[in-house]
């Protein structure tokens, strides 16, 4: 099931939560809607679900070409997983999952035995086959989230929508459940969108990531594209860390900090002031004596060696701080210490006007 929505606008009073958002989701893909709070990601999800209706001037919402924009949430057949699970407290796990099937009009309601079989299958799929008679209050957070997922899948949704699906869980359960969701998605190949404010989660789980900023889609792409080729300054500053410089560009070079670097072939050109984003991973660190012509001297102020990468806080010769990240191996080869001198130069950077 592919999803295609155009020019969705949603205003609440004076605030514009969505500002002419268009989005395209291929059948079977897992898309993350990522953005800071108030960027409209949850509103977009709710509009796609039919829990909110977009303003009348908005474009269509197509599920496999069928416009569902005027259908109510009941008729859209979307699976929605709520941030706080929204399980029915007074119903057993089994009855929670069976709710959608039992709620169907008599004509299309499956017979009892069939409901029993399908719910059993789903509970097995989410590894809760033995807990069917429990009440939600007797489950752990991770188990509840899986019940919520099974309940949403029970209606054989055309699209699965998840609102901050792991937001309420603690870190370890979160990681487990993330991997589990990816595996489930690989098995079942439903089309799904999920909202998150956690970049790592979006990058790890999703095939594609849509970054939202103030009710607009800033960029859509694979995690790699988004990370290494942020389309806008907002995306560059929102994802990961970057050293920021005020720079100036002329026909051939861009000057920022202590450097004057040639503009790469494929980069935008044009003279004038620019802002330059330099990721910590994109800085080359060398011994001062072996430094290349582009290198500029720097001093290691602090060195954090815990974790997979070594993080360096450097001071350039004019005192400007510079964050750098290098591999453990590189650190070992260079034998860096706090207070030591090094040469640094940028390998890659991005400029924005």
């Amino acid at each position: 099931m592919s999803v295609h929505a155009e020019r969705l606008t949603k205003t609440f009073g004076a605030t514009r939560a969505l500002d002419s958002v268009s989005i395209e989701v291929e059948s079977g893909s897992l898309v993350a809607l990522l953005g800071p709070s108030g960027s409209g990601k949850t509103t977009l999800l709710r509009v796609l679900a039919g829990l909110e209706f977009a303003d009348p001037a908005s474009g269509p919402i197509l599920f496999d070409g069928e416009d569902v924009a005027r259908l109510s949430v009941r008729e859209r057949r979307v699976g929605f997983v709520f941030q706080h699970y929204a399980l029915f407290k007074h119903l057993s796990v089994f009855e929670n999952v069976a709710f959608g099937l039992r709620a169907r009009p008599r004509r299309t309601r499956p017979p009892r035995a069939e409901i029993r079989r399908r719910v059993g299958e789903l509970l097995e799929r989410v590894q809760l086959q033995d807990l069917g008679e429990r009440l939600p209050s007797q489950l752990s957070g991770g188990q509840r989230q899986r019940v919520a997922l099974a309940r949403a899948l029970a209606i054989e949704p055309r699209v699965l929508l998840l609102d901050e699906p792991f937001g309420a869980l603690d870190a370890q359960v979160r990681t487990e459940l993330r991997r589990w969701l990816v595996r489930l998605h690989e098995d079942l190949h439903f089309t799904s969108l999920f909202v998150t404010h956690d970049q790592a989660e979006a990058m790890e789980v999703a095939d594609r990531v849509a970054i939202l900023e103030q009710g607009r889609v800033a960029q859509v792409g694979t995690p790699e594209e988004i990370y290494y080729a942020p389309a806008t300054e907002f995306v560059a500053s929102f994802l990961g860390e970057a050293n920021r410089f005020q720079g100036a560009m002329d026909a051939t070079h861009v000057a920022f900090g202590p450097w004057r670097m040639p503009i790469p072939e494929d980069a935008p050109r044009g003279a004038g002031p620019v802002r330059v984003y330099l990721r910590p991973q994109d800085v080359e660190v060398e011994r001062p004596e072996a430094s290349s012509p582009a290198s500029t001297p720097a001093r290691i102020v602090r060195l954090h060696a815990a974790g997979p990468a070594v993080r360096l806080e450097l001071a350039l010769s004019d005192g400007t701080p510079l964050w750098v990240e290098i591999s453990q191996r590189r650190q070992a080869a260079l034998a860096l210490r706090e207070g030591a001198r090094v040469g640094v130069h940028p390998r890659a950077w991005r400029t924005y006007r």
Binding site: G50, F80, Q83, H84, L87, F99, G100, I155
Partner: protein
């Protein structure tokens, strides 16, 4: 540790003993001056039995009516915005704030056969005042705030996500209300019923004017206590009083138990 515990606790216990426990002890002692057989005989007297039955039945019916209309009132006050909502919200407290004697004569004036509303009902052959219906009306009036004020916070606390989840699973609005919303409100509704019922069983002021006070027909238990007292039948009055206390405490205890059961089911992590 803060000072003053012994002093204030001592004063509290003394005050409670003098104002509350001593009088109640007098009541129990008076009732206990009857043998069990005499006690039962007093309550089984046709006039007493009729009064207790009327108080019990009218209170239950009034509390049930309050549950029906109280649910509607509480729902609209919490969920909808309409002109006059704040005024309506304030009006709900009036039965509590209005002295019961005033409520009594006001309801009687309005629902008597020549009253504003009574005169409209009379041609239909419906008489409210001076009939059991009038008693139920007065008790429903008195009990309304209990049901509404118990339900309002419960409705406000309902998790919207539950209703949205039911809708996203394809349930109709009616089914959502019946299968998802109603079970969530049931404990509050039960509490409201019990509070309204317990209040109604002992109610006196708002009822005596509208009830007509015909022995065996429209005489409530509280009135009979007063009557017995005026006849210096202290033991009889005490026996009826004890029966009334038992009825209203039983209602409160039952509901308390039901609530504990419900909250155990819903568990501690009810988010």
């Amino acid at each position: 540790m803060l000072p003053g515990f012994g002093l204030t606790l001592g004063c509290t216990v003394t005050y409670l003993s003098l104002i509350l426990l001593l009088p109640l002890a007098a009541l129990c002692a008076q009732a206990a001056s009857l043998t069990w057989a005499q006690f039962v005989e007093t309550l089984a007297e046709p006039r007493v039995l009729a009064a207790l039955r009327l108080s019990l039945g009218a209170s239950a019916l009034a509390a049930a009516i309050d549950c029906v209309f109280g649910s509607i009132v509480a729902w609209t006050l919490v969920r909808y915005d309409f002109p006059g909502r704040r005024l309506a919200d304030a009006l709900v407290d009036l039965p509590f704030a209005l002295p019961t004697a005033v409520s009594g004569i006001a309801l009687t004036a309005v629902y008597a056969p020549n009253g504003w509303i009574g005169s409209l009902l009379a041609p239909l052959g419906w008489q409210v005042a001076f009939r059991p219906a009038g008693i139920v009306l007065a008790l429903a009036f008195i009990g309304l705030p209990f049901v509404v004020r118990t339900l309002q916070p419960a409705i406000a606390d309902l998790e919207r996500g539950l209703e949205e989840a039911a809708a996203s699973l394809g349930a109709s609005r009616t089914r959502t209300l019946v299968a998802v919303v109603a079970p969530g409100l049931l404990p509050a509704l039960l509490t409201g019923f019990a509070l309204a019922f317990a209040r109604a069983v002992g109610e006196y002021g708002s009822v005596v004017f509208i009830s007509g006070n015909m022995p065996l027909e429209t005489e409530i238990a509280a009135l009979l206590v007063v009557t017995k007292l005026e006849q210096y039948d202290y033991a009889g009055a005490s026996a009826i009083a004890v029966a009334m206390l038992v009825l209203s405490f039983a209602a409160l205890i039952l509901v308390h138990a039901a609530q504990r059961l419900a909250s155990r089911r819903a568990g501690s992590a009810v988010r």
